[in-house]
Amino acid sequence: MHPVQLEYSIPDDTDPQTLAAAIQSHGPSLAESPRTLERRFLDNFDWSLYLAGAALEERHWPDDPEPARYQLLWHDLKQPAGSPIEQWCGSPAGMLDDLAPGPVRERLGPLIGIRRLLPVVTLRGRVHGHRLLNADDKTVVRIMVEDQTRMEAASPADPAAATKTPLSSRLRLQGVRGYERELKAARTLIEDDLGLKPVETPLLMEALACTSLRPGSYSSKLDYQLDPTQRADAATKCILLDLLDTVEANIDGTRSNLDSEFLHDLRVATRRTRSALSQIKGVFADPLVDDYKTRFAWLQQITGPVRDLDVYLLDFPHLRDSLPAPLRPHLDPLRDHILAHYDSTQSQLAAELAGGRFRTLLKDWRAFLEAPVPEPPPAKPSNAGRSIKAVADARVWRMYHRVLDEGRAIRDDSPAEHLHELRKSCKKLRYLLEFFQSLYPKDCVKELIKQLKELLDMLGRFQDQAVQAAHLRETAVEMHREGTGDIDTLLAMGALIGQLLSTQQQARGQFAEVFAHFDNAANGERFEDCFRSKRKREGQQ
């Protein structure tokens, strides 16, 4: 079905009229009216498509009569000459759920998940189409000559005032199925007579080359390359500066609520910042640490309510499906209730993030992190001048033992708070391992993080189900008070609470086994190999 499509670069000094005349002299042809074409190359904030070797192009012809239609084209960047996969839609692409089923959506699903597709590059151009005809005036080959201009909006508030950067013009040769001989003749015209060369760079890459964008530049994953001998205060500043970059990168997306992952990443970076402040001990002065711990706790607190609602909404289909079929429709008022509160909660958050308190926090924090560390290193705090490796060894080893002590103390009848405390310690240990992973053998740390993650997942299930059940109960009281939940809805919510608590109990029952999997001899040796012996060596120097 896919017609053969070939693309050629048109040298800048080529006269368009000479080109058109050459096409017309090839044989019977029909010149079509020029059309304006807008192209957007889309990806999510994580560059998931680009990193998977794909490009998503959205074409739109703004001058065409209503209703507007958008053509989505999925390109394989590894095979630029291959035919793209296409799908049509009635509105610009954004969230996956808003896209009708189709071959492009099918490919997007596993890659973008709940992230919004955002424009990476926007191009605008004119397409001059020519149809080569046979004796029956039937189209046998199509030739499209396209000029392209990259449009960069000066500000989101004023998209009309865009900076325009012209790109090279291209000629597209499109075969018509069943008329291969005619395509071959047209190729001879384009390649031999006109001397045009096939394009080597996909349009997306050419457009990206004239931007400051670096594909794949954003990732919420931690990947620091620390120098083991670096001073601990300087290395800690590097870690915190990177986390600050992540917080800042996610502010606009959070304020305009492009998708829920912006807020999620902002909160994770905030949590990691707080963890680094409290866990990489003795590298900065205590009053400064206390001050910023309080200020970042405030940030965590103001971002909490929207995140809670996001979790509800994201989990809602799963929660609904977990109920027996007759109860499911009765849960819908719960979603309506959440949605009704969402906008005002989100507006409050957006206002806080635009406010002076937040701006000052970011400004002060950046100023501190970017300031050079004092020379010579101060005697106090005591770890500031030590090597980051020595500090990391000590902190990880200590936190590992805290996890062991807390975990081993848990019995079948231990209160839930003990598991909650253990979870907090595990998270601290995980963050430390992630911050410092470049200082240790990769495979070893990777395995330790993996084992820890299993334990954290179980503890997370235990804790989250309880929190969700409690939250659901509060919401039920609220809905009852506001009159938005009838008796059937409240009963369905009750059934859901029962299920959540039952799942929580299942997780509780798995604790001993999962913890034993973490607290085993092989893991102990790994920790010892990585963190203990070297710590001693540091100590002996």
């Binding site: 296409e86 049509w88 089923p101 149809r131 005036d137 039937k138 189209t139 075969g175 199925r177």
Partner: protein
């Protein structure tokens, strides 16, 4: 892939115009569409300026000597392809009769095209024959253009009687609609008033009789491509919208 047939026992009811115009609208809306011109007269092929010729004729197709895939031609319109007619299709009944599984041949030929197309429209010759039985087996729905006259209604009754004899799981959905409607004619108005009682499945769209439809042969292109705002084009779009509502989610046959 959904297979729809534009079919009627009676000739001259607008089967080809229906297949050609709906195919164009579906492709314009983004569906990868194939029209198979099964009528040896080759009117659909003519509308698209494509020669009514298949290498090796119907015999080569049915014998498997040549796959339909290699015989398909692109039309002048994006996403719309055509499997041309061939004069040898006038003997298709005889050819089918000689092959094993004579009622499943068409279905088997269409199956490999499932990955390439979202919609296949069969433009069928009139009559009821072994070709028709193949169409009934292959198609999800039979789109039956019906002129609101007693003769046309009679053939619709005949078709329903025939379909009623098929196993329900193997019978296509009957999708009649009023075509070539002349509101000035009393007989048309009366038929359109009374028939829905007997045929609740009648699609709620009436395509008017229009000289513009006849100009398709002159222009050699689908009506909505040269007269997008004409009443008949609007009616075909409404017909497609209604069909799409009934088709989705895409059934597989």
């Amino acid at each position: 892939m959904t297979v729809l047939a534009s079919y009627s026992i009676k000739g001259g009811v607008g089967k080809t115009a229906t297949a050609v115009n709906l195919g164009w609208i579906a492709a314009e809306q983004g569906l990868r569409t194939l029209i198979w011109d099964l009528d040896p007269q080759g009117a659909a092929s003519w509308y698209f300026r494509i020669q009514s010729k298949v290498k090796g004729g119907g015999k080569a197709l049915l014998s498997g000597k040549r796959a339909p895939d290699g015989q398909i031609k692109g039309t002048d319109f994006d996403r719309l392809d055509l499997l041309p007619a061939d004069f040898s299709y006038r003997h298709l009944d005889l050819l089918l009769d000689r092959t094993k599984g004579s009622r499943r041949q068409l279905q088997q030929l269409l199956e490999p095209l499932g990955d390439d197309y979202d919609l296949i429209l069969l433009d069928c010759p009139p009559g009821i024959s072994l070709v028709s039985e193949n169409v009934f087996r292959a198609a999800w729905g039979l789109l039956v253009p019906t002129i609101p006259t007693p003769l046309s209604v009679r053939t619709l009754d005949q078709l329903r009687s025939f379909l009623d004899q098929l196993e329900p799981a193997r019978a296509p959905r009957l999708l009649p609609f009023f075509n070539l409607v002349e509101r000035g004619k009393r007989m048309h108005r009366e038929t359109m008033e009374t028939l829905p009682e007997r045929y609740p499945e009648l699609l709620p769209v009436r395509v008017p009789q229009a000289s513009e439809v006849e100009r398709m042969g002159l222009k050699r292109m689908p009506l909505p491509a040269f007269a997008p705002r004409h009443d008949a084009s609007v009616a075909y779009r409404a017909l497609w919208d209604e069909l799409r509502r009934q088709i989705e989610p895409t059934p597989r046959r």
